[in-house]
């Protein structure tokens, strides 16, 4: 093995783990900037805050891997959250409430998938429409007001701990594990990558691409409703305007994690790293008491720099 090929191997390795390297770099920088950053308590705090976006971003990863996009997740989150809250405050059985809450989100996701796959419409437009519809339904259902008054047991989902670990974090890691297995170890997962890589070829090889596509949007809706329920539980209230702009944070997490918007490349682990990068950035800017105007510039700049480096390294490949 020559020195040169060794070097190129290191570069390849670095390219593969670049989002992880970025995350570690950010953690090191933050540790120097703020003495409060690297404490168990704060790290727990960050992962709990990240969990909502991470769960959305897991679903978004499935969609983006097929080369699509799901803009409706923030609104679906809000709809599931107000429906869950509304039914719960009406005294319905909590298990039934959760099933309905999650069912609604999954159903809207399924609809997105049907319109994209069978309707042959662009995912951007379909989910943009769904984003507006779901937000409207949220406002209709809630009459524009926050809904509160939950069962004590419901708060466990968002504010509880198991062995000292916040429940949302446990949910996030459980969903991460399941999604990882689905993407890497099942035929469904392989077809998700295949569609993103070359849809025509996948279809010609006899795979029912419509089914796969409908599946990924349903997964995205399913996960959006789970994060909506966690958010309502965490806030002890369902907010009709919850989740506005969350779709962009989720997309940013996916892309920061190295998944290509063109589809076919990337994965779930990167997405979690991307979500952590965004979460640490938010946390760090608060810890450092950075003024509001500068925060926006800093966040945007980090995303742009990350994507810039990503495209450059892809070009080199």
């Amino acid at each position: 093995m020559t020195a040169k090929s060794k070097e190129s191997q290191i570069i390849k390795l670095a390219a593969k783990f670049k989002s992880a390297i970025g995350l570690i770099g950010l953690i090191i920088v933050m540790s120097f900037l703020s003495e409060y950053f690297l404490t168990v308590h704060n790290l727990m705090n960050i992962t709990r805050q990240v969990s909502i976006n991470a769960v959305l971003a897991i679903g978004m990863t499935f969609v983006i891997l097929t080369g699509g996009i799901d803009l409706s997740v923030g609104s679906v989150l809000a709809l599931s959250s107000v429906i869950t809250a509304g039914l719960m405050s009406s005294g319905m059985n909590i298990a039934l409430v959760l099933i309905i809450g999650i069912g609604v989100g999954t159903l809207l996701g399924l609809l997105n998938g049907l319109l994209v796959a069978k309707g042959r419409m662009q995912s951007f437009i379909v989910t943009l429409g769904m984003m507006t519809i779901a937000r409207g339904l949220t406002l209709i259902y809630s009459d524009g007001r926050p809904i509160s008054g939950f069962d004590k047991s419901f708060r466990f989902l968002g504010a509880g701990h198991v062995l000292g670990i916040p429940v949302p974090v446990i949910i996030m890691f459980a969903l991460l594990a399941v999604s990882y297995v689905i993407l890497k170890k099942t035929p469904f997962g392989r077809y998700v990558y295949a569609i993103g890589g070359n849809e025509k070829a996948t279809e010609l090889s006899g795979i029912n691409t419509d089914k796969i596509k409908i599946g990924v949007y349903a997964i995205s809706g399913f996960l959006a409703s789970i994060s909506g329920i966690i958010l309502a539980s965490r806030l002890n209230s369902a907010q009709p305007i919850a989740g506005t702009g969350y779709e962009l944070d989720a997309i940013a997490a996916v892309v920061l994690g190295g998944t290509s918007l063109a589809g076919g490349q990337g994965g779930i682990v990167g997405t979690i790293i991307g979500a952590l990068i965004i979460g640490i950035l938010n946390n760090g800017l608060n810890l450092l008491n950075v003024s509001s105007f500068y925060q926006l510039v800093a966040k945007g700049a980090v995303i742009l720099i990350a994507i810039f480096l990503d495209t450059r390294s892809q070009k080199r490949d």
Binding site: I52, R234, L235, P240, N282, S292
Partner: protein, 299 residues
């Protein structure tokens, strides 16, 4: 020939329909017709404003046509044009955007319909009266209340609204003016949480990490105050919280002793005063150009 007759018939029918509409629009049964263009019904504050306005109008026997712009300035413009077409006597508008609404106000001016702005102002056109609460005074009120609660010494945190909005600017300005009067009170952190409950919680959680000593929090609105409350409860710390707007949840939290106070704008009173002002304008009485609606502290 038959086809032509049918077409002619249809055209006549449509013309009659139009004529009927126009007549209906201009009909004058002595009932004052108020057009109310609200920015959004996405926020309990504006829902209360609308309810106050409609209740007062009903009491006085006026008719109200309400349109909701859903925070979309373009939609507001077109729906105000619709209101003008329907022959309203006075336009009450709660602008989505102070600049974008100018075109709509100018069209009302051209139709000789007097315009009242509520809550947010307009940056042009001819506005007869502007009705709003005095946010700067509200910020000062919060600062004085906190100072009294912590014996004029201690560390306070400010949760700011969306950067660049007038509410965030004015409330922050009033609060900092108020706090500046007390030498021993220090604002240890001022961070934006965008008027949003989830963000209020997250940002407060983060501030709690870096500030070991906090005596009080002032949030530019209740949603952030309630989010901060969850964060503070989660951390098991004892901090005085003051919000702004007095939405239902916050008033309940004050009753439960979970937050200390909320500065109440009186949205439903803003709506009521808008109707009274509209009546005065219709009766050609002189009204003040800027009507400040009093705030109150719910504690």
């Amino acid at each position: 020939m038959f086809k032509k007759l049918v077409t002619l018939g249809l055209v006549l029918l449509m013309a009659m329909g139009l004529f009927g509409c126009a007549k209906d629009g201009a009909k004058d049964d002595g009932k004052l017709k108020i057009g109310f263009a609200v920015s959004t019904q996405n926020n309990p504050f504006f829902v209360d404003m609308k309810n106050g306005l409609e209740a007062k109008a009903e009491e006085l026997g006026f008719e109200v046509l309400t349109v909701d712009a859903q925070d979309d300035a373009a939609k507001q413009l077109s729906s105000i044009e619709d209101l003008i077409m329907k022959g309203i006597d006075v336009l009450v508008v709660n602008p989505v955007d102070g600049d974008a609404v100018v075109t709509a106000i100018e069209s009302a001016n051209n139709s000789n319909i007097p315009v009242i702005t509520v809550d947010r102002g307009a940056n042009g056109g001819e506005v007869t009266a502007h009705i709003a609460s005095d946010n700067v005074a509200g910020g000062v009120m919060a600062a004085d209340f906190i100072a009294e609660k912590i014996n004029k010494a201690g560390k306070v945190v400010e949760l700011e609204g969306i950067a660049g909005t007038s509410a965030a600017r004015d409330r922050g300005k009033g609060f900092n003016q108020g706090i500046d009067k007390y030498d021993s009170i220090e604002v240890v952190a001022s961070q934006p949480a965008d008027f949003n409950r989830a963000k209020g919680m997250t940002v407060m959680e983060n501030i709690l990490q870096s500030q070991r000593e906090i005596d009080a929090v002032f949030a530019h609105n209740d949603s952030m105050a309630l989010g901060a409350m969850e964060a503070i409860e989660g951390a098991g710390r004892d901090i005085i919280i003051v919000g702004f707007d007095a939405i239902d949840d916050a008033v309940q939290a004050v009753k439960d002793g979970k937050i200390a106070a909320t500065v109440a704008q009186q949205p439903s009173l803003i709506g009521e005063i808008a109707v009274e002002t509209a009546q005065k304008i219709a009766n050609e009485e002189v009204v003040e150009e800027f009507i400040k609606v009093p705030l109150k502290l719910v504690k």
